[in-house]
């Protein structure tokens, strides 16, 4: 039951991902011109979505109890700081994650 539900979940995620990747080519792949509104969204939406995903990752922080979200905030600041300093994506991700793991396992 659980196994089947998991397989269905993977299938749905794969199918929707594929649909999203193929849709523009199926809809606009012919000779028709891409509508201006779609072109506009394609320019402005990515930044907004990424901001939304950052908030999504931090959605379960409780500032009033537990560690008050300090490990998350410190680690996010470390990721941003590392990235602005060294400009190395892997270093920023690995450094921030290791720091966060140390913070939640040892410090807080």
């Amino acid at each position: 039951m659980n196994q089947i539900h998991s397989i269905l979940l993977v299938a749905v995620i794969a199918a929707v991902t594929m649909l999203l990747r193929f849709a523009p080519f199926l809809i606009f792949g012919g000779k028709r011109k891409t509508p201006a509104f779609i072109t506009y969204l394609s320019a402005v939406l990515p930044c907004a979505i990424m901001g939304m995903l950052v908030v999504y990752c931090l959605r379960n922080i409780n500032f009033l109890a537990g560690s008050h979200g300090l490990p998350e905030l410190i680690a996010c600041a470390a990721v941003a700081g590392l990235h602005l300093w060294k400009n190395n994506t892997l270093l920023s991700i690995a450094g921030g994650t290791v720091l966060y793991m140390v913070l939640v396992q040892v410090v807080f």
């Binding site: 998991s6 269905l8 979940l9 993977v10 749905v12 995620i13 794969a14 929707v16 991902t17 594929m18 999203l20 990747r21 193929f22 849709a23 523009p24 080519f25 606009f28 792949g29 891409t34 779609i38 072109t39 506009y40 969204l41 394609s42 320019a43 402005v44 939406l45 990515p46 930044c47 907004a48 979505i49 990424m50 901001g51 939304m52 995903l53 950052v54 908030v55 999504y56 990752c57 931090l58 959605r59 490990p71 998350e72 680690a75 996010c76 990721v79 941003a80 990235h83 602005l84 994506t89 892997l90 920023s92 991700i93 690995a94 921030g96 994650t97 966060y100 793991m101 939640v104 396992q105």
Partner: protein, 235 residues
């Protein structure tokens, strides 16, 4: 001795694609290993890592998928979540229509494998003399796909062979999004869209709570961007 089985430049195309893909190799191995470890920590082993990386091949979504699997999310909410996390692919696709127009017979696979990283490589300039462009796109996509599968399977293996405290490993996903957010912030002059994304999401999080805020946030973001179109489209 003359080689007759390959079209001229085939080997050179592969070599060139391999060289260009090296930064992605490093990234995908590390992110893939992170994904594999995380997936394994939630009770899904090597087979699941392999299956997901072959069929889905979308980094951020696979990280999100671990949470969906572990919490036994409904199929509808998984579909909606996929639409939101991967909506950007619609826009990658729109900007690739011309570049991928005459790429038969590779076209279906190229479209399937159009990840953020492959997109950035395919977009970065023209290929040198003697390199078959369509075949180059194909090798790039295939190599990147292989790196991703290898990384995630390795991660699942590492996770199952060594027992260590994985508490906090989920943060690698947060870190990935923070880095991409920063990259986008630096590459744009007008930050209204990024601020709308954060602001609308925080507002909806406060109003609807952590488990229900994503859909309202997505709608609010689209609404605000549509209303501000006159101002933002000029910038």
């Amino acid at each position: 001795m003359k080689q007759t089985t390959h079209s001229p430049g085939s080997g050179r195309t592969l070599t060139y694609a391999f060289r260009q893909s090296l930064p992605v190799m490093a990234g995908y191995l590390v992110l893939g290993i992170g994904f594999g470890i995380l997936l394994n920590a939630k009770g899904y082993g090597v087979g699941w890592a392999f299956l997901m990386s072959v069929l889905i091949f979308a980094g951020s979504m696979q990280y999100v998928a671990v949470g969906l699997l572990a919490s036994g999310a409904s199929l509808i909410s998984a579909a909606l979540m996929t639409v939101m996390v991967n909506a950007r692919h619609l826009f990658y696709g729109i900007s690739m229509i011309d570049r991928y127009r005459n790429t038969k017979p590779y076209r279906p696979y190229l479209i399937f494998a159009l990840t953020d990283e492959t997109y950035s490589l395919v977009c970065s300039g023209d290929v040198p003399e003697g390199v078959d462009q369509n075949r180059y796109f194909f090798y790039l996509s295939l190599l990147d796909h292989c790196y991703w599968i290898t990384g995630s399977v390795l991660g699942a293996l590492i996770g199952s062979l060594f027992t260590f405290d994985t508490a906090g490993i989920d943060f690698s996903m947060t870190a990935l999004f923070v880095v991409v957010f920063l990259e986008q912030w630096r590459s744009t002059e007008n930050h209204t869209s990024a601020l709308i994304g954060v602001g609308a999401s925080v507002l909806c999080l406060l109003l609807f709570g952590p488990s229900d805020f994503l859909i309202p946030a997505m709608l609010l973001i689209t609404l605000l961007l549509t209303l501000l179109r006159g101002r933002l489209a000029q910038a």
